[in-house]
Amino acid sequence: MRLTRRSFVLDGLRITALVPLAPRLALAANCRSSRSRGERVLVVVQLTGGNDGLNTVVPHRQDAYFRMRPSIALARGALHALDDDHGLHPEMGALAEVFGAGELAVVHGVGTPVPDRSHFRSLEMWHTADPFAPAGEPAREIGWLGRLADQIAGADPEGTPALSIGGGDLPLSMRGERFLAPTVRDFEGFRLHEASASFARERDALLDAPGAGDLAFLRAAARTTYAAARRMSEISAREEGSGYPESELARELKLVASLVAGDFGTRIFHLSLAGFDTHARQAPVHANLVQQLSAALAAFQHDLARKGIGERVVTFVFSEFGRRAAENGSKGTDHGRGAPVFLMGAPVEGGMHGTPPDLEDLVEGDVRQTADFRGVYALLEAGWMGLEPSTAETAMPLLKG
């Protein structure tokens, strides 16, 4: 009987006399760090719980689909066609349009080489990109995105290379050896509260003073923080994206679009959408979730185009495993293996990739894994972000050109 933690309330102290910073301060610190303007951005969206790939990208030509899923199979006519054999869930019309514009890649049957039906263990593999590390090893405590962040931070120590968007703990994938990504739910979470408007000026002078050792280190950290907070507040003061649906995921993606367009400097964003562990009565819950996902992603993609930054952002959507081919007795599905992942973005080679699932050739009732997730990672790490990849896997060719 675990009780939830109280949510933090010291906010109640921030009452009187809080003066917002004047946004227009020309900061030496801003120019000092090599801001990664115009650089490529990776947005990772995790679908937590194990998304049912077969009801997302539906292989409707296979009779086995309808045979194995008498209650939860989706009607062929309602699907959004991706190719002759596959269609998207009826509620994913918005994302189908992105596919139609050639900006969505669907990769079939992606999974881990050491499948595990445990949420915890499977997520750990996807997060660390190391399915084979034994328990207790440090390799199990560092994430692939964290490693990328470490590399970026090495070149630009005063920037914020990665941000985790949303409440909750920092996901393992974002833990680096040196860099610890901040978690931000919205602009408010990065707001700086100052006692007086004159402080900004005072600090600029004080923090620029020469120093040594720990004092210099603290000053540098403070400078980075204040610079980041001011950038956030400048960006938030501008008009935000429009055309987003009302959902938490959409709000978070809207924040990401604003930050990228505002040249905040972060290159890696992590978001998640939970609730995909549909063991019973899957239909309404899954429909609700994929609708949210599809609408939010499509709005994000349109917003990026409108802001003129569509060429800079690739979005990667994955889940820790798929679900079994046959439905269970509760009109739901149980944990499976391979599932499709999405790559979305103007630079992405749209279309269907990889080996489609064959429901006559299952392995222990699961869709066979035909692609190693680390191949996708290698593409994103080296091919897209231009950094050192975490594994030696061959990158899958999913980008244009």
């Binding site: 019973a280 009565r281 819950v285 007795g329 509760s330």
Partner: protein, 588 residues
């Protein structure tokens, strides 16, 4: 905390004063109702027949003295800046007369408040009938004189009337307040036009104004004249002028959470055409009644209390019962009607709920198969139980049980037992993953009736007993009565009572809730340490402050013998809710 104390005093002071005064005889024929003085465009109207008695009383009443001498009173006095006596004395010095006596003089034969709206802004009007015209005039002069001094004006500028309307002296005090006095009638309003209207109405031969509005007489037919106060609300009118709060009230029927928690009667109260509220208060009890008229027909009616309801009987009350309730929740109806009753954005929650429930019933369709077979009348009993030796939680709580009648009890009862097994299994799987103790199932017989329960493995001796040991979930079926309890002992007791026919048929035909003050006080005292620590750790209080507040809370519970809440449906279009609080005898 301060607000509770202030509120408590505002309740107790009038009741104390009220008991000291002989009840006034209602003079039926001598003068028109105060309601006849209110313009028709009045949306809220209240009268305080008992307030004069309140003013006539004072701090000397024994109950007030008892209150001020109790834990609660001591805490209040310690935190107040001045004592009540000193405060009253200071006002008397400035005013030139006792404030309470002054108020009594002005309201001796009734006081009324009417609220209307002009251009979206509220318009208040007060009408009061006093005892002696000369005394009223003198009181008014003193009050105005004092007001003049407060604002640095000459007394003469305020004391004399600024004008006359139909024989009444009228005072214009800025834009905000207009007063009038004619004989024994005193009027006040924040709108001059309103005041004129009231004087015009007062001059009429026949009673008019609010008194002649259709529906008003019917709604206020229950007025006896011995209430402390009563009020009438034109809900339909208010909805048009005072949008927000009334809108929320009227939208309550469309809130699934409120429907589940408060039930259909409470939710629909605000959706009527008009409402009447009545408060009686004396040394022994408090009675509050709310009646709503012209409740809208519609989907909400389909889940409403039946007209000639005959609720089933419940196991009889035991002295140790902390609370008993009989509620009407047509869950099957709520689910069936959800698309019509509730807004679209909460519908996914229903899908989620049915999906989760289906899990426990092996995938069965809960809305079609299970819910309709459960009687909408649910009994709730809260009763402390004796815990096993060595398994008495450090934070002991009373046990609770739900008793529901089932149709096709044989089949459905089996499914409920099956669901219980699944529930225990699910709890155990999660517990195993978090290395927490497991629930061990147990099947027992009480005479010939089965009781299926589960308990946690006994904790290691000397190590402290966690909160979870309050939970020994149990289910049982006695003929068509299904019992679901948080503790096995309560389930067994109820099974025994049901089998022996020790049941009570509740009176009133509606929902009913009763709470025993002594039981609540006991829970507070048993957990005083925990409550005090919460105050220290989460609210930054010192140990003394926190402990003092817990004692005050227990003493409030001590003052209540019993609290009862009931609902009724007098007609198809009216609903009634009543609250009764019996206070403990003095000196207890």
């Amino acid at each position: 905390m301060n607000r509770i104390l202030a509120g408590a005093t505002c309740v107790v002071l009038p009741l104390a004063a009220w008991t000291a005064l002989p009840r006034a005889q209602a003079d039926v024929d001598s003068e028109p109702d105060l309601a006849a003085l209110m313009p028709e465009s009045t949306w809220i109207y209240a009268e305080g027949p008992g307030l004069a008695g309140l003013f006539a009383g004072g701090l000397d009443h024994p109950l007030v003295a008892r209150l001020l001498g109790s834990e609660l009173g001591e805490l209040f006095l310690a935190q107040a800046e001045t004592s009540p006596e000193d405060a009253l004395e200071r006002v008397e010095e400035r005013l030139g007369r006792s404030p309470l006596k002054a108020l009594e003089a002005m309201t001796a034969r009734g006081i009324a408040l009417g609220v209307g709206y002009k251009r979206g802004e509220p318009v208040y009007a007060i009408a009061a009938r006093g005892g002696e015209p000369e005394e009223m005039s003198a009181v008014l002069r003193d009050a105005l004189g004092w007001a003049a001094e407060q604002h640095g004006l000459e007394r003469s500028q305020l004391i004399e009337p600024h004008g006359r309307i139909r024989g009444a002296g009228v005072w214009y005090l800025g834009d905000e307040l207009t007063l009038a006095l004619e004989g024994d009638l005193f009027l006040a309003s924040n709108d001059e036009g309103r005041l004129r209207d009231m004087l015009d109405l007062g001059a009429l031969e026949e009673a008019a104004g609010l008194a002649s509005r259709p529906g008003f007489a019917e709604a206020t037919r229950g007025v006896a004249g011995d209430e402390l106060a009563w009020a009438w609300f034109d809900l339909a009118g208010l909805a048009q002028v005072a949008a927000e709060p009334v809108k929320n009230l009227r939208a309550a029927t469309g809130n699934p959470g409120l429907q589940f928690l408060l039930g259909p009667v409470f939710c629909a109260l605000g959706s009527g055409e008009a409402a009447y509220v009545e408060l009686e208060l004396d040394a022994e009890r408090l009675a509050l009644d709310v009646e709503s008229f012209g409740v809208a027909a519609g989907v909400a009616q389909s889940v409403q209390l039946p007209l000639d309801a005959r609720p089933p009987s419940l196991p009889s009350a035991k002295e140790s019962d902390g609370a008993r309730a009989l509620v009407y929740r047509d869950l099957a109806g709520l689910f069936r009607q959800r698309t019509e009753m509730f807004p679209a954005d909460v519908l996914p929650k229903f899908a989620e709920a049915t999906s989760t429930l289906a899990l426990f019933f092996g995938g069965a369709d809960v809305t079609d198969g299970i819910l309709p077979a459960i009687s909408p009348w649910l009994g709730v009993i809260v009763r402390p139980v004796a815990f096993d030796e060595g398994a008495t939680p450090d934070i002991p709580l009373p046990a609770a049980a739900i008793v529901a009648r089932l149709e096709d009890a044989g089949r459905l009862g089996e499914q409920m037992f099956g669901a219980f097994h699944t529930l225990v299994g699910v709890i155990n799987v999660e517990a195993a993953q978090n290395m927490q103790p497991q629930l061990i199932p147990k099947l027992e017989l009480v005479q010939a009736d089965q009781v299926l329960s589960a308990h946690y493995v006994e904790p290691a001796p000397g190590g402290g007993v966690d909160l979870r040991y309050n939970l020994v979930p149990a289910v049982a079926l006695v003929d068509d009565a299904f019992v679901l309890a948080t503790h096995r002992e309560l389930a067994k007791e109820l099974v025994g009572q049901l089998r022996r026919g020790e049941v009570e048929a509740p009176a009133g035909g509606g929902e009913h809730l009763s709470l025993e003050g002594a039981a609540a006080a006991r829970v507070v005292r048993d957990n005083a340490e925990a409550l005090a620590m919460n105050g220290v750790l989460n609210e930054g209080k010192t140990m003394e402050q926190a402990s003092g507040e817990v004692r005050a809370l227990a003493s409030i519970a001590d003052m209540v013998e019993r609290l009862e809440l009931f609902t009724q449906r007098p007609t198809a279009a009216s609903l009634r809710v009543g609250l009764r609080v019996d206070f403990t005898e003095r000196g207890e």
